[in-house]
């Protein structure tokens, strides 16, 4: 997982669903705060896959147009073999699973 800039922080564009889920967080002010929020996310959601944090300038998010969420699959040669449509509409785990199954039968 690549932890990127918040999608719906409370001080920018909060969603009702965030309030309902009790995920009410303001935008991290620096890399340290982003790391703290990322840590809380991984712990509370029980994410077990390796997670890295995008640097505060969001260079990785920009390179991959990853905000607010997005899926990619990179093959063994380092080429993009699957690119989802931008989230949240394009965030389809089934598509990634199918692409992965094709790549690693």
């Amino acid at each position: 997982m690549v932890y990127i800039t918040e999608a719906h922080p409370s001080d920018v564009w909060q969603m009702e669903s965030n309030i309902k889920d009790k995920v009410v967080l303001a935008s991290p002010k620096d890399e340290e705060e982003r790391a703290l929020v990322a840590g809380a996310c991984v712990r509370k959601l029980g994410i077990q896959i390796p997670a890295v944090i995008d640097e505060f300038g969001n260079s990785t998010e920009q390179a991959y147009t990853g905000w607010p969420d997005r899926l990619y699959l990179i093959d063994a040669k380092g080429d993009v073999t699957y690119k989802a449509k931008p989230g949240p509409f394009g965030f389809k785990a089934d598509e990634l699973r199918a692409a992965l199954a094709k790549l690693v039968p």
Binding site: I4, V37, V52, A63, I74, G78
Partner: protein
């Protein structure tokens, strides 16, 4: 007597014709107003789509700040949000392109991970971009 009847019929006939003409003019005028209203609404809709598309192409925070001020149903129900979003956020990276390399810190900040290190080991990588909110 005959003359009077003839004149009366002519006057009545003229009246009916005038009434029909007035109705026809009214109907044409209503049609014109409806067409103009439709064209105006369509124009506003197209302009709103263009404006939203441009805003979607802005950096995420700028886009999010704008969206926070827009009542939800306007953007999501009145405008084709998903279609515009899919195009605006398509990105420059395509399937078959070489994945941009990065070196990012792990959550514990004890080490960093470089994407190309997986390529060196001939291992595929799934990237899941996201955040808590």
């Amino acid at each position: 007597m005959y003359c009077c009847i003839r004149v009366s019929v002519l006057v009545r006939g003229f009246g009916r014709s005038l009434e029909a003409n007035t109705l026809s003019t009214k109907s044409t005028s209503v049609k014109r107003i409806l067409v103009r209203a439709f064209v105006a609404i369509a124009l506003v809709w197209v302009l709103a789509c263009g404006a939203l598309y441009e805003i979607m192409r802005q950096p995420p925070e700028k886009f999010a700040r704008f969206m926070a001020r827009i009542p939800g149903p306007v953007a999501f129900l009145v405008l084709p949000f998903e279609t515009l979003w899919t195009h605006a956020r398509a990105g420059a990276l395509h399937v078959g392109d070489s994945a941009p390399d990065f070196s990012l810190m792990k959550l514990d900040k004890r080490a960093s991970v470089q994407l190309s290190s997986f390529t060196a080991q001939r291992r595929p990588v799934a990237l899941i971009f996201g955040s808590y909110t």
